[in-house]
């Protein structure tokens, strides 16, 4: 340490031992350098008569084989851990209620109400859509928020690297190996993109009537965007989807979602009559809030998934 600390320590020592105050300007005798083991003169390792000690031999052996042994130990441990976890869980599974049996604990009164009254309480023909966007809408709101969180975090991590010249040297674009003049790709894309877009929209809009919904439809829409970017180049997509529109559209869609669900939560908990009509089950305009919510979710998912692709391949949206 240094002098001040030493002085403090001496004072503390004197106080503990009950010594009187020391005279001022007392000369502190310099301490003799301790005879530490590593200050001794090392033996001549390389002399012909030097016999390696056990420790040196162990160190040499470790240097030669250490990594190898470590790798073997690691794989042995992974197998062990895997076997222990799997066997524990297998014993558990053997005790679980039998597969596909209709008297299982999961098939209880909760499910009965979802199936028997779900259609009329939510207005949706697809019971799963009614479940996730009406009965348990708070979970699904959280789920969209997870996607939003991830989109924002990835945007922060990857797009900031563009402004600084980081270690990869290129600064911005990570790879652009494909050529923009691929005639086959472009022709196929021009044929298939409208079909994919149409399919995506159908899946989103029919979410309350048939399998699908915002998440799966949004994924299909983002596939069309990614194909477009690959066939015509990212600049083509930039003309209608850049970083500002990306953030703006995701935020707006999530905001509409939050506001409409907030209204329905508020009215539900305070037992106020909600003004949202349920519609006739089976029609396209039915299911109350489910259709607009599906569209919002589809927009968020399409933007986010395309955003992930663009950020990973280009470093910008």
């Amino acid at each position: 340490m240094n002098e001040e600390l030493k002085i403090i320590w001496r004072r503390f020592f004197d106080w503990v031992m009950g010594n009187g105050p020391r005279p001022e300007n007392e000369v502190i005798p310099p301490e003799a350098p301790p005879d530490l083991p590593f200050t001794r003169k090392p033996k001549d390792k390389y002399s012909r008569f030097h016999e390696p000690t056990l420790r040196e031999r162990y160190n040499n052996w470790l240097e030669l084989h250490g990594l190898h042994i470590f790798a073997i130990l690691y794989s042995a441990m992974s197998i062990l851990v895997c076997v222990v976890i799997v066997s524990l869980l297998l014993v558990t599974v053997a005790e679980l209620p039998p597969f596909g049996h209709e008297r299982n604990p999961a098939n209880n009164e909760v499910i009965r109400r979802y199936v028997e009254h779900g259609g009329f309480e939510t207005g949706a023909q697809n019971i799963v859509a009614g479940l996730i966007l009406d009965y348990r809408a708070f979970d699904t709101f959280g789920e969209s928020a997870v996607l939003f969180t991830a989109a924002v975090s990835v945007l922060m991590l990857l797009s900031a690297s563009r402004s600084k010249n980081n270690l990869s040297g290129g600064g911005g674009k990570r790879f652009h190996s494909f050529s923009h003049d691929d005639a086959i790709l472009r022709n196929v894309a021009s044929l298939s993109i409208p079909i994919i877009l149409m399919l995506g929209c159908t899946v989103v809009i029919n979410g309350h009537l048939s399998p699908g919904g915002g998440f799966s439809g949004g994924a299909i829409l983002s596939a069309a965007l990614i194909l477009c970017a690959n066939a015509y180049g990212f600049d083509h997509v930039h003309s209608f989807l850049n970083e500002r529109t990306f953030i703006f559209s995701s935020s707006t869609a999530l905001m509409i979602y939050a506001m409409s669900k907030g209204y329905s939560f508020y009215t539900g908990a305070n037992q106020i009559h909600s003004i949202i009509p349920k519609g006739t089950i089976g029609n396209i305009l039915s299911g109350g809030l489910i259709l607009p919510l599906n569209i919002c979710v589809g927009l968020i998912v399409a933007c986010t998934l395309y955003g992930f692709y663009a950020l990973f391949s280009e470093g910008e949206i």
Binding site: L96, P98, V128, L311
Partner: protein, 144 residues
């Protein structure tokens, strides 16, 4: 016990997969392989949930018409819809988490030039030692 395991063979497969995924996530040294392990584990959980929701001989939970303008809504006709909703949430969570983990991996790769976390740690400690020795050298120069 084996008999019961055979009865629950979907769950058993899911559990084996999730064990494999968890082990990969814990013990692989390569970051990309770790993330693949995570995805295996998530997929296993979806399989498990889907198996939990299945009831023998019942249809998917989308209301069927009864032919007279009404809807068949007996609960003996459809499988459990809750696991489907949970799986959907799980998929979205897993997509988000995977994207974020890959972005961080890219950052680590840019910084250290390796995907192995041990090597990254080694490089970091070496860099720190270099910095410290540089500082010491500078201090010595000042003293001289």
């Amino acid at each position: 016990m084996l008999e019961k395991l055979f009865l629950n063979h979907y769950e058993a497969a899911a559990v084996i997969l999730s064990g494999i995924g968890l082990t990969n996530l814990l013990l692989q040294r390569n970051l990309i392989k770790k993330i693949i392990g995570l995805n295996i584990m998530d997929t296993a959980v979806y399989l498990f949930l889907a198996a939990k929701g299945y009831v023998e001989g019942r249809a998917a939970p989308i209301l069927l018409e009864n032919g007279a303008g009404g809807w068949l809504r007996s609960s003996a006709l459809y499988v459990n819809p809750v696991p489907a909703g949970l799986v959907l949430t799980g998929i979205v969570v897993s997509v988000s988490v995977t994207a974020f983990a890959l972005a961080l991996t890219l950052k680590v790769y840019e910084a250290y030039g390796t995907l192995n976390i041990d090597e990254a740690l080694l490089k970091m400690t070496q860099e720190q030692e270099e910095i410290e020795s540089e500082i010491e050298n500078a201090e010595e120069k000042v003293l001289v």
